[in-house]
Symmetry: C2
Subunit: 197 residues, 2 copies
């Protein structure tokens, strides 16, 4: 059967992460109900983003300028590089307001399953940057998943020749977390990495 424009919109909205068929229907109806105040601005914003947002050739971040605002800033610390998987991870770290160094966005992880090898990630750029004598430390902030950790190990191997300290994020209990609800892996990691009180 031929899909109507409305069905097509719902179908496409439903493909966005976090939206199922039901919320896609609600979103589509909401858009139509608020054509001027919701749909039109959203439509324009999408066009603007498509037109203006590009990948920073320095770090892989997304911004309307290249190099991105973080790479272009002179107030950031050149001696430390934080390696993340995706742009969303970079944003998450920026929101924490605790890191003021530079970034490298890998663009994913190594994955045998998905057939993603080192050449598809931003690793060459990282090694090039890490070779700069100004750089003292590389923080591997990949996800605490099998693929994330495999990637971190791979990168550590390839940073051996650079004279930098390589660190990773701490594992442990999330702030506000209750022991009873934590998985064994997290609890085990928190125990192993216990700190003097």
């Amino acid at each position: 059967m031929h899909e109507s424009p409305l069905e097509r919109l719902i179908h496409l909205l439903g493909k966005l992460p976090g939206l199922g068929p039901r919320s896609a229907r609600r979103a589509a109806l909401h858009m139509i109900k608020y054509r001027e105040s919701v749909m039109q601005p959203l439509h324009q914003a999408m066009a603007q983003v498509a037109e203006s947002i590009r990948v920073c050739n320095q770090c892989g971040n997304l911004d309307s300028q290249d190099p991105c605002a973080i790479c272009a800033s002179e107030r950031r610390d050149n001696s430390i590089i934080c390696v993340v998987e995706e742009v969303g991870d970079l944003w998450a770290i920026e929101r924490s307001q605790i890191f003021s160094g530079r970034y490298i966005v890998l663009g994913g992880t190594l994955s045998a399953l998905d057939g993603r090898g080192p050449s598809e990630l931003n690793i060459a750029k990282l090694i090039e940057k890490a070779a700069n004598p100004e750089v003292m430390e590389v923080i591997l902030a990949t996800n605490a998943t099998v693929d994330g950790q495999t990637t971190a190990h791979y990168i550590t191997e390839h940073l051996k020749d650079c004279d930098v300290k390589v660190s990773r994020l701490a594992y442990g209990i999330p702030i506000g977390g209750e022991l009873d609800y934590l998985d064994d892996g997290t609890l085990g990691a928190a125990l192993r990495s216990r700190q003097p009180f």
Copy 2:
């Protein structure tokens, strides 16, 4: 501070029902990552919907034709009208495939709080339709909320002069529902409306 195009897109996505700030960020990144396969088709679909979808002047449904496919169909039962609050409710009933009559979409409920009176709803159209001698029954399928029920009562009053049966949806335990998880109101309604086994 001036909002960047990307921030603006995330802000607007976050206003859609069912999307919070976090899922809006993920959706925006997903769009940028899959520019050709996700963002462009979505952008086009929105333009098409904005251009082609209109409100059916017979029932208030949304469709690319006016009257809508349901009103235009000759295979639907003219003797029964189902009154719903919103287009989403009409779709939900259509999905159940159990109703083959006509619809009236009110476009909301009476609401003292939001200052919505009868003139803002599709009630005049309903009364006009119900006055047709062909019509035997009006089903009030408004939500089981205070506003929904107030609206249903108001409509019942105004249908007194029409020679039609006025019914409402049954209250009771949802199929698959467990008693222990039901609220007192539903359980009470289910008890009061108990049926011979």
